[in-house]
């Protein structure tokens, strides 16, 4: 089975998810089944209801959240009980999202999960501020 049916739902603070989607589409072109939800101004119950409506039971999807331990992460953690076919991916960044969009129709879910995690982590580098060396 490939991941062609995998829907991506970004659940984030503020406009972070929407901007990540917009930026990814600027790089890759328009994308189907990619949705951004924000917690701004919503109670946990209201955001849960919106998310539940976007995620029919049995549908394979990835819930991308910005912050594990934040309200979006908590809501998605709780929703996973009702939607065991969903994968929760925390710490979403642009490399992770691009990896998902490029590979979701090409690899199986297990490989897709591994790719998301490794790409998101491998993309992080801190360059500079090396200890000074004196001749």
């Amino acid at each position: 089975m490939t991941g062609s049916a995998v829907r991506g739902i970004l659940v984030t603070h503020g406009r972070l998810g929407a901007e990540l989607c917009r930026t990814a589409e600027a790089i890759l072109g328009p994308q189907a089944d990619l949705i951004a939800l924000s917690n701004t101004g919503l109670s946990a119950e209201a955001l849960s209801a919106e998310l539940r409506a976007l995620l029919p039971p049995g549908e394979r999807a990835i819930l991308f959240v910005d912050l594990l331990g934040g309200s979006c992460g908590n809501i998605c953690s709780l929703l996973k009980r009702e939607r065991p076919d969903a994968l929760l991916a925390s710490g979403v960044n642009l490399p992770m999202l691009l990896e998902f969009l490029v590979h979701r129709g090409r690899v199986d879910p297990t490989e897709l999960k591994e790719r998301l995690q490794s790409r998101a982590v491998d993309a992080i580098r801190c360059i500079g501020w090396e200890p000074e060396t004196r001749a």
Binding site: L42, S43, S71, N74, S77
Partner: protein
């Protein structure tokens, strides 16, 4: 007894609490006092597994009401309540935190009116606030340490006659 912070927030433990308040206050423990979270193993696990910087414990309202005076390391404990109804239950049972109670997040739902960007109240909640204020509960509204603090006089203007 003085807790590090007692906060009413319908999102309980989340980014604003862990990073916004947790950064400057440096809690040694987060204590979620909530019947739903306490009775639901999945929800408890979601909170405790995602703890950042300090451990998370979850108690139901009754257990906290009975034992709050004996809370270990209260000065390092950040207490989180989900709603005003829970605060009222604790108040009726004798809960009297020194330093008052922070209203930090009561968000929009059906039947609410906005009072601040982060405080939306039903008529019932406005009445509950009135009862709490009349009983001497020290309340303020503040979303984050660096945002304006709205004192008890502001909250009095929201109160609906019981």
């Amino acid at each position: 007894m003085k807790f590090l912070l007692v906060r009413v927030d319908d999102r309980l433990l989340h980014g604003q609490v862990v990073y916004g308040w947790g950064g400057p206050l440096r809690p040694r423990r987060y204590l979620i006092v909530d019947d739903r979270a306490a009775s639901d193993a999945w929800e408890r696990e979601a909170y405790t597994a995602s703890a950042v910087g300090a451990p998370v414990e979850v108690l139901d309202l009754e257990r906290f009401a009975q034992g709050w005076r004996g809370t270990p390391d209260a000065a390092g404990t950040l207490v989180l309540l989900r709603d005003l109804a829970g605060l009222h239950r604790l108040w009726v049972s004798g809960f009297r935190p020194e330093g008052g109670v922070n209203l930090g997040g009561i968000h929009a739902r059906a039947g609410t009116r906005p009072r601040l960007s982060f405080i939306h109240l039903t008529e019932e909640e406005e009445r509950t606030l009135g009862v709490l204020l009349a009983a001497g509960c020290d309340l303020h509204a503040q979303e984050l340490p660096g945002t304006p603090r709205h004192d008890v006089e502001t909250i009095r203007t929201w109160v609906r006659e019981a």
